[in-house]
Symmetry: C2
Subunit: 319 residues, 2 copies
């Protein structure tokens, strides 16, 4: 049990090593230089780590497990590269985003390329089949739908909590679900377990995203490795923004429009804290972590000790 | 033989009908409205028609053949949507491009979504397997590489004809090759035939692209259904531009920089015609159509009559 942090470090190092060894050509530079650059970023590799932890419970062939986990990480990077263009984010994984360092065209193509490499890496596993490809691509479409909802929310004054939760289930939950489901599909486990892993991942993803929204308010950009303030200016909805607008519309709007840019984050934090919105939001995140643990208990014939520890890891993460 | 045009119309109508019947949801509107809009455009459906013609030689199951051909058409549309952003094109298939009608973010996501739908449509066939997925995704990466080379060329003064031919082989030839190869892979035909279909498609694609470059100079935007002049202003290299720069650098540059925007296309046409560059380029296109026919003759146990007629169709097309 006490060796869990070492296990996670070990898996992360193995993943980073395998990413470095991906046979990505040098030319054309326009396509591959930004792809290599993106993969050098300091991603936390949480999704492929989850894939490894689930795969370990099935004693999965290590090469195939690594390929599945890399496909998940590459898919994740594809969505980040394109989302960063849409959200005008300038920092990601502690380095400049591709569209900011190069330009929009370069970032569009790098995203397309990295997603295609993801498909090819997935294709390289033994026992590649229809179900594996179906899960992978359905999840990609879910992520696209989640991103579309997120973009729609930017132009809506009022978004309900239910709609927000539906959005993050698609945008964040579905990929975490796939990270957990794919080794189970690969192992040809019973459908009940596969579906439990889906639900587990969706709950965990919701907890993770809400926790992430909280960290954006309480951490600084350097620790998080991505640009933060941009979200509020682009009109991003989070549980906290939704609650603030719902219960304290006027005073919230006054803070957002009257704060100096340099004070905005601090003022928002003080406001959300005073109004107990941070506390309430923490409870919501907790409830989803709790739900994900409940699902783990329902899994048949699977030793889920490490998965419980993984949930703890996400819940306690501070960056 | 004389019924070939009717056959092509029939297949095109069937393809358009099947595109209309694709189970694309309504919501989120941000994602699916532009996708439906793109698929309503007046595409010529040449690539999926080729897939049908090859599939007919194998008596392929009609549902699977239709799905393979739709996946090819969807993949094609994905690349057009993203290329149009990068090339700032405003008209495609006789209607406004997505990034022009909506915005860049909408077009990025619509492209991502349509490509993912392509993967799912391909996945829906019976006997979906590793080889089919591999071919489909390798071709996508080729197209990305071709587009990257094309973007690199914009910043190069001198591009060799060889490099240009390599670029269009990837950007245009590879998808036409896949349109021909996939039914052959699906039919589990011998590897020789599959590879002959690849070479056939690459030659045909080169002929098609060079012919297309010629049409851009000799047709008007309305007939072509896409914006034309933009290419020269964005510094696009074509065989004709490469030859003009190679043999008549000064007079070419003088025409490009001294023509009024409204006269540019006409002046370029007159110049290229006078210098016999149009004639020479026509010969090059012809040579690739001829090479593609030569490959058809090498196919084993396949009735390629309709494929010869398809080559004629592409060679004689005037829009």
């Amino acid at each position: 049990m006490s060796h869990f942090p070492e296990l996670i470090s070990f898996i992360r190092n193995e993943i980073n090593y395998s990413i470095k060894k991906l046979p990505i050509p040098d030319k054309p530079t326009y396509l591959y230089e930004p792809i290599k650059y993106a993969l050098k970023g300091k991603g936390k590799r949480l999704r492929p780590i989850l894939t490894h932890l689930v795969g370990r419970t099935y004693n999965t062939d290590p090469n195939s497990l690594m390929s599945i986990s890399l496909a998940i990480e590459l898919l994740h990077n594809f969505t980040l590269i394109h989302d960063d263009i849409m959200d005008k984010d300038t920092i990601r994984h502690s380095q400049k985003t591709i569209h900011y360092k190069w330009d929009t065209s370069t970032a569009i193509l790098a995203g397309d390329g990295i997603y295609t490499v993801a498909q090819l890496v997935l294709n390289s596993i033994d026992r590649y089949n229809k179900e594996i490809s179906k899960c992978f691509n359905e999840v990609t479409l879910d992520i696209c739908e989640g991103q579309a909802m997120d973009k729609e929310f930017e132009n809506l004054d009022i978004v309900t909590e239910d709609l927000y939760l539906e959005m993050i289930k698609k945008k964040t939950g579905s990929l975490i679900a796939a990270a957990a489901m794919l080794p189970s599909i690969y192992a040809k486990d019973e459908i009940d377990n596969i579906e439990l892993f889906r639900t587990f991942g969706e709950y965990l993803g919701k907890g993770f995203q809400i926790h992430d929204d909280l960290l954006e308010i309480t951490s600084d950009s350097k620790t998080m490795g991505k640009s933060l303030d941009s979200d509020i200016f682009e009109g991003k909805q989070t549980i906290m923004v939704i609650k603030a607008k719902q219960y304290f519309k006027e005073s919230w709007e006054s803070i957002v429009s009257n704060s100096k840019k340099s004070d905005l984050k601090k003022n928002i934090y003080v406001f959300l804290n005073e109004k107990k919105i941070i506390e309430e939001t923490k409870h919501i995140a907790e409830s989803y972590f709790k739900k994900s643990r409940k699902i783990l208990k329902e899994l048949n014939h699977i030793n889920s000790d490490e998965l419980f520890m993984f949930v703890d890891l996400l819940e306690n993460r501070s960056f």
